[in-house]
């Protein structure tokens, strides 16, 4: 006889990765309007409207002679934040509506579940980055191919970080009102307090302090150094260490404890 204490207890085995990823891809494709909006509209707004608009304000600035090129790595990092909201929505849904229980009963391990959840975010991010790179090339920016590949890899690592963080937070979210609040309260301040559109050195001291505890700031800096200067800086290492810390915590969050949260609601 086998004790059925935690159906999903499977250590670090990847069991259930493939079905979880397949289901998440089907769910991703079911949101065609959201997908088009995130793939096209957001990069276009951020690059062609906001960054292009700010270009005039930073004309002749000491930190760059081509603002669009300078701001671009920050926009790449900004796209990775969508992995947070997407994973948050899907995982809260799984916890609230009992889908996590069903997956655990089917033997899906915490590792398989967590990595499976990340796949669609990585796919969506890759498509977003394709749109962004095409746009920025049209706008006159030029990058070497190796740093571009490195930056895309870094962006995927950043997306893994944000997805894993979202999975951990869903363990404490009891309803979709709190979920929406968390998404708003995390995404907006993080994106505005990171050196995406301005160099951190020129920001007020309090913002510089906030940037020190803002993971997005490290991601922006790591991608900017790699893409613009071909350098892998310490911020890149910090980014990877942060990802390596949150990933096992996310796995543990879905492997242990109650799989069902108290309320329903999408």
């Amino acid at each position: 006889m086998q004790s059925l204490v935690t159906p999903s207890a499977g250590g670090w085995r990847l069991h259930g990765f493939r079905p979880t990823a397949e289901i998440e891809i089907v769910a991703l494709l079911s949101e065609k309007k959201t997908l088009i909006s995130s793939l096209l509209l957001e990069p276009v707004v951020q690059l062609v409207i906001l960054a292009a608009g700010l270009q005039g304000a930073f004309q002749g600035a000491a930190f760059t002679d081509h603002y669009i090129t300078w701001v671009f790595p920050g926009l790449v990092a900004l796209q990775t934040l969508r992995a947070f909201s997407r994973t948050m929505y899907r995982t809260v849904l799984d916890r609230q509506w009992g889908m996590l229980t069903i997956k655990r009963l089917a033997g899906v391990t915490g590792t398989g579940y967590t990595l499976g959840k990340i796949v669609p975010s990585a796919i969506a991010l890759s498509l977003q980055l394709c749109t962004l790179f095409l746009l920025v090339l049209v706008m006159g920016a030029r990058f070497a191919i190796v740093p571009v590949i490195g930056t895309v890899a870094m962006a995927i690592i950043a997306a893994i970080f944000w997805s894993a963080l979202a999975i951990i937070i869903t363990g404490f979210v009891r309803d979709y009102i709190v979920r929406d609040m968390v998404v708003t309260w995390v995404m907006l301040p993080l994106s505005m307090a990171a050196p995406i559109f301005y160099p951190i050195e020129t920001a007020p001291t309090y913002l510089q302090w906030i940037a020190r505890i803002n993971p997005l700031a490290y991601q922006v800096d790591a991608m900017r150094n790699l893409l613009l200067y071909g350098q892998f800086q310490v911020t890149g290492i910090v980014m990877m260490i942060l990802t390596l810390i949150v990933l096992p915590l996310a796995v543990r969050s879905v492997s242990h404890g109650d799989a069902l949260s108290s309320q329903g609601g999408r």
């Binding site: 006889m1 086998q2 004790s3 059925l4 204490v5 935690t6 159906p7 999903s8 259930g16 493939r18 079905p19 397949e22 289901i23 089907v26 769910a27 079911s30 949101e31 899907r90 849904l93 799984d94 509506w97 009992g98 889908m99 229980t101 069903i102 997956k103 655990r104 009963l105 089917a106 899906v108 404890g257 109650d258 799989a259 069902l260 329903g264 999408r266």
Partner: protein, 312 residues
């Protein structure tokens, strides 16, 4: 109370199982039972008795505070259908049902064919590509039960699977579950639809006041309050003294305005034909029936008895 019969193939055992919620209220305590393969078990009890807590713990949706759950073989597939709608709102009807097969690694052709079969069995074929949020509550519940059956589970944990269903659909769902248990699966079904449970279930797990009160076969449960059946005979004319004397050993109760109806307890050894033979021309029987306590009767009596005991 029995937990299992000799020679039964046990699929699932619970030992001293209990769940205490964060507000310090126990959902259920000291639950002990063994469930055999091939049985359909009715989980009975009033609202708040602890049925859903028990099923949630068995499904792993919530962690028990005390006790142990043991399955005979880790490879047994467990299917769970919650009282609450458990659906992936981003997927359509077919995709939700297919999800049950995908998670268990069934091949694509099997998933497709089985989903098509279940869509038809649950009268959902026309809604296969429809967004699940567009379905009625009953249709969503059918999707959920169909998904549970998709992987051919060995243990089915079904909490109110017929709550939002019409009469025909409820019977269809239970028939399908029964087919699966006849193939060797175990089903635990919590429901307030006592008529259907009586018709389709083999055993009863009676939960009351956060305790498992009874776990026994349906037949034994039905005889637990009144061990004998009841015979009811209606006569064309008032019952004569001679007839009353002939049936005296049955301690009959005469009723009706014209003293033309007789009611008596009947042990399993005496058939209705035996009684009719005893009458033998001393009265003209116009209606005869043998009645036994229904699941509803027993349930109500046991609940009332236990509540009375608790109040004293």
């Amino acid at each position: 109370m029995f937990t299992h019969r000799e020679g039964d193939d046990i699929a699932l055992t619970i030992q001293g199982l209990g769940k205490r919620y964060p507000n310090d209220v126990w959902g259920i305590r000291h639950a002990t039972a063994a469930f055999s393969k091939g049985r359909t078990v009715a989980v009975l009890g009033p609202n708040g008795a602890g049925k859903s807590t028990l099923i949630h713990m068995l499904a792993g949706a919530i962690q028990q505070t005390e006790g142990a759950i043991t399955i005979a073989d880790p490879n047994l597939r467990i299917g769970w259908s919650s009282q609450r709608t458990t659906i992936d709102w981003y997927l359509n009807t077919r995709q939700n049902i297919e999800l049950g097969g995908r998670l268990y690694g069934l091949d694509r052709t099997t998933i497709r064919n089985r989903a098509t079969e279940l869509l038809a069995r649950f009268h959902l074929s026309d809604l296969a590509e429809t967004d699940v949020s567009m379905l009625s509550g009953g249709q969503q519940q059918r999707v959920q039960v169909a998904r549970t059956l998709m992987s051919n589970p060995d243990i089915m944990l079904l909490d109110e699977p017929t709550a939002a269903l019409d009469v025909e659909s409820s019977a269809d769902v239970l028939r399908l579950i029964r087919e699966r248990t006849r193939e060797g699966a175990l089903a635990l079904i919590s429901s307030h639809d006592l008529g259907l449970l009586e018709q389709f279930c083999d055993d009863v797990l009676f939960v009351l006041n956060q305790r498992v009160m009874v776990h026994q076969s349906m037949a034994a449960f039905l005889r637990s309050v009144s061990p004998a059946d009841e015979i009811v005979l209606s006569f064309a004319e008032p019952i004569s003294a001679e007839l009353e004397a002939r049936l005296g050993h049955l301690s009959p109760h005469i009723e009706g305005d014209y003293r033309n109806r007789l009611r008596a307890a009947l042990s399993p050894q005496i058939s209705l034909a035996d009684v009719l033979n005893l009458i033998d021309g001393t009265g003209m029987v116009i209606e005869a029936s043998r009645e036994r306590a229904s699941l509803r009767d027993v349930y109500l009596q046991l609940t009332a008895k236990e509540n009375l005991r608790c109040n004293h």
